[in-house]
Homo-oligomer: 426 residues x 2
């Protein structure tokens, strides 16, 4: 079903971290869902392809949201005055408990998936809840949305409300395996499961070991939370005294990169050994600046991570994060990096727009393989953005229009076409 065609317009992408390439009035060629390159003129071998002329509009790679909680979407932008533990107890957990009701889940997830479909996101790594039926409903919805996603049935067996806790590690493993095989049976083209321990404080070693076994058995990716705030980091040290550091508790169960893709959200307070291990194991960081502000966690040292060559992408982390906008995640990442520079480390240069753009596209996209730039062999994930709502007294450069589109959040109203692997979502 992958179409072949050519998009013509103002093409902007970051094949290299931090280097924005702009090709004005250029042609991005899609062959069977895969990018064949960007050209100033259409090469002879592509002459027969249909050209979609986007005029003066901006053409960008689709964005990868490395961390978002689908069952928290219903209360995004509310309860922001709570502190983390209060927020979990009073807002997050009561809402997640509702997903035991499949009818509620279907209604809520339909809103979630339809909003994500309209967003700048073309790929997403998603937390659901512990409920198998609801999580499969979410996967059905995501499959229909046109977005490529990995969806996790969330595992917890301690420090969690009874309604959301697995009864034990063995039962949890059985439930998770049922979920994985049922997801496989449904034959999704764009949607897959991902092993999802919520975070160390809510998972016993037995549960982690069982999840590690399933990860290996089914060769699945892993997502979780890591070193989000100081209180949590100390709590993990108490709960898991044998682990050398927080991330080591995942690594001991085979849930921290090495053989398969793993993404860890936050990493605000990762110790040097943890960063070293992430580098060695090839773990992705999902940097979630909005959530880290809203929940008062702090600011992740992203400049350091980029310098060390860590894999870094962005997550909206709804509903710790404000909303599903990846454009907002990009500018939030820049803004908090300036405060990090000011208050934490004046040798950590603020993140520049091309770097944040790269994180939202190729940085996070790499979790899905060759994704996030208009390079040959990359999946053809593209957004066509109309910024005509912004009237200019003098013509602005494409570079300025691009930056402005992000700062003004024009992804909310300005995306006129969206393609995932060459398929037109709308």
């Amino acid at each position: 079903m992958n179409a072949s065609f050519i998009l013509k317009g103002q093409i902007c992408h970051t094949p290299t971290a931090g280097r924005l390439e702009i090709h004005e009035n250029a042609y991005a060629v899609c062959g069977e869902g895969v990018c064949r390159g960007v050209f100033a003129e259409i090469p002879d071998c592509f002459r027969g392809l249909r050209v979609i002329d986007c005029g003066d509009r901006l053409i960008l790679p689709g964005m990868t949201d490395l961390h978002i909680h689908a069952p928290q979407f219903a209360y995004r932008g509310t309860g922001m005055d709570y502190e983390l533990m209060d927020w979990l107890r009073k807002v997050a957990f009561p809402e997640e408990i509702r997903y035991a009701d499949a009818a509620y889940a279907a209604a809520a997830y339909e809103i979630f998936a339809s909003r994500l479909r309209l967003s700048a996101t073309t790929r997403a790594v998603i937390f659901a809840t512990v409920h198998t039926e609801a999580t499969l409903l979410l996967m059905d919805q995501m499959e229909r949305s046109g977005i490529v996603s990995l969806v996790g049935r969330v595992s917890m067996d301690r420090n969690a409300p009874t309604e959301l806790a697995e009864p034990g590690a063995a039962e949890a493993a059985l439930a998770e395996e049922r979920f994985i095989t049922e997801a496989a049976r449904r034959g999704y083209r764009r949607t897959g499961p991902i092993i999802t321990p919520r975070f160390v404080p809510s998972c016993t070693r037995e549960l982690m070991a069982a999840l590690g076994d399933l990860r290996r058995k089914f060769a699945l990716p892993v997502q979780s939370h890591l070193s989000e705030n100081p209180g949590e980091v100390s709590w993990v040290a108490e709960l898991e005294p044998e682990a050398a550091f927080y991330g080591d508790a995942y690594d001991r169960s085979g849930l921290f990169g090495r053989e398969g893709n793993t993404v860890m959200a936050h990493c605000v307070y990762s110790a040097p050994e943890e960063v070293r291990r992430m580098l060695d194991n090839g773990v992705w960081v999902a940097h979630c600046p909005s959530s880290n502000m809203n929940i008062a966690s702090g600011i992740a040292p992203v400049r350091r991570y980029l310098e060390k060559g860590l894999r870094v992408g962005l997550g909206t982390d709804v509903a710790g994060g404000t909303c599903e906008s990846m454009f907002r995640a990009v500018t939030d990442a820049i803004q908090v990096s300036k405060l990090y520079w000011r208050y934490v480390d004046q040798s950590a240069k603020p993140i520049a727009f091309p770097e944040a753009f790269w994180m939202a596209t190729k940085g996070g996209g790499s979790f899905f393989g060759r994704v996030g730039a208009f390079e040959e062999g990359y999946a053809f994930d593209a957004l066509v953005l109309d910024d005509a709502s912004e009237k200019d007294v003098l013509p602005q450069s494409v570079r300025n229009r691009l930056e402005r589109a992000f700062y003004l959040g024009l992804d909310r109203t300005g995306i006129v076409h969206k393609f995932v692997s060459g398929e037109q979502v709308f």
Copy 2:
């Protein structure tokens, strides 16, 4: 022209700092442009008035933007990777120089005024440029926008590009007086001039003294910048060794409260004596969190200011700030206060939503008198907000819908009616 009518709907305001009052399905009465109170049932004495039934929509006080640069609107959301001095030299000043051309100014200010008209802002304190003709054109535009505003012709006579510098203090005083008298001659109903030294580094003592004389002569308010970043604060100490602190340099020229209203933008690094003087003189702080992030200035200690009883409102500070949205200013103020708590002072409790809402309405509104709440005798500035774009799986409380509207920036598309002193702007 002030109408009398009643708005019915979900009325939200903060008569007291930090205490959000919500009156569901209630009536806000406007009599000749002035609020007569909020009632659960229409009192007999108002029975004859026309009722505008807003149904389930939210009704809020209009917002006061205490600090915005009109000539920077054209490049909002661009050039954000520059540092402050580079940004001024490469982006801000070259654009301001264009306003010598009245045709350019007319075109650019029309875009500015039309966007402000559609925003949540009902009152604004505005920087223009040094150009008298362009500034009067801006005032004409603002008068037509329906928004109440104070507009400043910006004075500089040192450390500024020649094109934007006054030739000398005496000439500057003459030019400023011509501007003030011409503004008066135009007989605006909603628009007035405000004395506007750009900031101490760009104003000699002679210029400041001349502006102080004009302030007294015409009994005008004053706006400027204060203690925005550490480098600027040290520079002022060098330039004005006789001043006890930055703000004292304004005070010595009669430009720092006492007899007339003065608002100072930023106050990120105000020394204790400066804060004391502001308190004594009744100076307003225009807190501009977005700009303070974008230009990497830091975070103003707003919790301390509120505790001390300083007058605090919010400014968008376009184009140091990202955009003209006061909803965004509200949530930015909350977010940065959490990082302030985390990184600067854990005894400074983060700003809660009702406090930021108050700053955007009654806190800043007080610069214009009895403005910013639906209290008897207050100007009837009101927004009617439709949040139906956000679909809910279960009905949300009015409190949650209000908070969400701010976090999601629904002021951009959701404001369906706007009133200023009872006059319907749209």
